[in-house]
């Protein structure tokens, strides 16, 4: 179906299209209402259960968690921890991601290298990266460095394999059409391969966000002096369930925000992709 902008521009909106858009928004509103309802129900159930049927020591309660959450921010107690975890994640993500994209492109272009190293890469990938945490602490101490490296390792493979696939999936007809016009290898790499692979790369980046959180938090749980993971670890050590949940709540928000950030970047970089399809019947 041809969803071009001409009908909007000449001021005579297509009624069918308007109807589709209206239905689309109605559906969004309904879904969001149900989501809100579901979330509130869960919280209510939790609140009611807590202290009545299950000891508050085990499951805390939403109000207690919220109180703690606010307290942490109001007193400023939480900020150094947030800063530590955020910087580990951000640096690890950027370093691991950049390295993964670079390697993905190289291996995508050099078929022979990729083929030689294939079993090794697969083997490494199947090992949960966080297991290396204690080793990194041994090598790099208990500061931020081992966590950054842990985050970088955990996000690496996902982004690497996506970049690799993206590079290989480039339509060969597009490449030869540009070669026929006289495009050099560098030109083709910049103007055909990178943009074509970007859809895959962004999927990799988005999927890697939770792994970055896992890397940072697990690293902190092994050994640290601050950070959200350390906070959770310490709280659970003294059976402070409320503290554990308040820490988790922060991770949750962090995950959502980072995901949204990458998604925004993606929408901008991939604005050429067909939109309006989601409005379809």
């Amino acid at each position: 179906m041809d969803l071009d902008k001409s009908s909007e521009e000449n001021g005579s909106p297509d009624p069918l299209k308007q109807e589709l858009i209206r239905r689309h928004y109605l559906r969004r509103v309904r879904i969001n209402l149900y989501r809100l309802f579901f979330g509130i129900s869960c919280l209510l159930l939790w609140e009611v259960t807590s202290g009545r049927w299950i000891k508050e020591l085990y499951i805390s309660s939403p109000t207690a968690v919220l109180r703690r959450f606010v307290e942490w921010y109001a007193s400023g107690f939480f900020f150094p921890h947030l800063a530590a975890t955020l910087s580990e994640m951000a640096l690890g993500f950027v370093i691991g991601g950049a390295f993964a994209i670079l390697m993905g492109f190289i291996f995508g272009m050099k078929k022979l290298w990729a083929e030689i190293l294939d079993p090794f890469l697969i083997a490494l990938w199947s090992v949960p990266g966080v297991i290396l945490g204690p080793l990194f602490i041994l090598y790099f101490g208990i500061g931020l460095t081992p966590k950054i490296i842990l985050v970088a390792t955990t996000v690496f493979f996902l982004i690497f394999f996506n970049t690799l696939t993206g590079t290989r999936e480039v339509n060969p007809e597009l490449v030869s059409s540009i070669r026929l016009m006289g495009g050099s290898r560098t030109f083709i790499f910049h103007k055909v391969i990178i943009p074509s692979a970007s859809a895959w790369i962004f999927t990799g980046l988005r999927n890697a966000v939770p792994f970055a959180i896992i890397g940072a938090v697990v690293g902190e749980m092994f050994s640290a002096t601050r950070g959200i993971g350390w906070l959770i670890e310490r709280a659970s050590g003294v059976l402070d369930t409320t503290g554990v949940f308040a820490g988790l709540l922060n991770l949750l928000i962090l995950g959502l925000l980072l995901n949204e950030g990458v998604a925004q970047l993606e929408t901008h970089a991939l604005r050429w992709k067909a939109r309006g399809l989601e409005i379809g019947l």
Partner: protein, 261 residues
């Protein structure tokens, strides 16, 4: 002979893969003169595209020679324009960015490039769509982008591989008409591959019938219908009918051969 742009001499092409070993084309001889429009018509899978790839230097013959401007084709032939059935416009570039890409490769100054891009977009009736991405265009518009993207760098010859194959019948006629106009204006050397005999006769100066598996030229005829031609009327001319009948006779066997495979 000096005036032939493309010359194909006794060309064979065999494909050897792990699963198959077959002769795609054999003993093809064809020479295309400057400013000539030649159409090759044949059933699908008869090696027509293989032949174009050989001329473009995307592949090499196992026997025989392909000459371009008198010189053997040994690497990718960047002096050619190649328009394929599938869209090869870049989906992440807007119409104007796509149209100007060859000028970008040739490092043409921006002002000159923009000017040229504007005039070609105007010519193709795409004014107003400069900032659109291919995904926002209709099939026919994308096709036009693909064609002017090739015309803009003034290639020495243009290869067209079923460029209108995917379009509906009406749109196909419109595009053929535009191609005729472009040919009248620019007199490019064109080699046009199609499985549509009517299309071949309407457009070309000479029509070559290709046989199926292995492909070779079975028959070649001068069209001898004067230009400028009217695509909508040409089909009712006597010459068209006679030629169609004669060439169809020869093509028919190939088509049915393809069916029985």
């Amino acid at each position: 002979m000096t005036d032939s742009v493309i010359e194909i001499r006794d060309v064979h092409k065999r494909f050897i893969t792990r699963k198959a070993n077959f002769l795609a084309i054999h003993s093809v001889n064809l020479s295309i003169k400057r400013n000539e429009f030649v159409a090759i018509v044949g059933p699908s899978g008869c090696g027509k595209s293989t032949l174009l790839n050989l001329i473009a230097g995307l592949d090499y013959p196992t026997r025989g020679k392909v000459l371009y401007e008198g010189k053997p084709v040994t690497e990718i032939n960047t002096d050619l324009g190649y328009i394929t059935q599938n869209d090869t416009v870049l989906p992440w570039r807007t119409v104007e960015e796509n149209v100007g890409i060859s000028l970008e490769i040739r490092k043409i100054p921006k002002a000159l490039k923009d000017e040229k891009v504007r005039s070609y977009i105007q010519m193709a009736g795409l004014a107003g769509f400069e900032k659109f991405y291919p995904s926002q265009l209709s099939g026919g518009m994308r096709k036009r982008v693909g064609i002017i993207r090739t015309l803009i760098y003034d290639p020495g010859a243009i290869l067209m591989d079923e460029p209108f194959g995917a379009l509906d019948a009406q749109l196909k006629l419109v595009m053929q008409n535009e191609l005729l106009k472009i040919f009248d204006e620019t007199r490019k050397t064109i080699l046009f591959v199609t499985h549509d005999l009517g299309e071949a006769i309407s457009l070309a100066d000479r029509v070559a019938v290709f046989s199926g598996r292995p492909g070779t030229i079975k028959k070649i005829k001068e069209v001898l219908i004067p230009r400028p031609r009217d695509i909508f009327k040409i089909r009712f001319s006597k010459r068209f009918g006679d030629l169609y009948e004669e060439l169809w006779e020869s093509l028919k066997e190939e088509v049915s051969k393809g069916e029985s495979l």
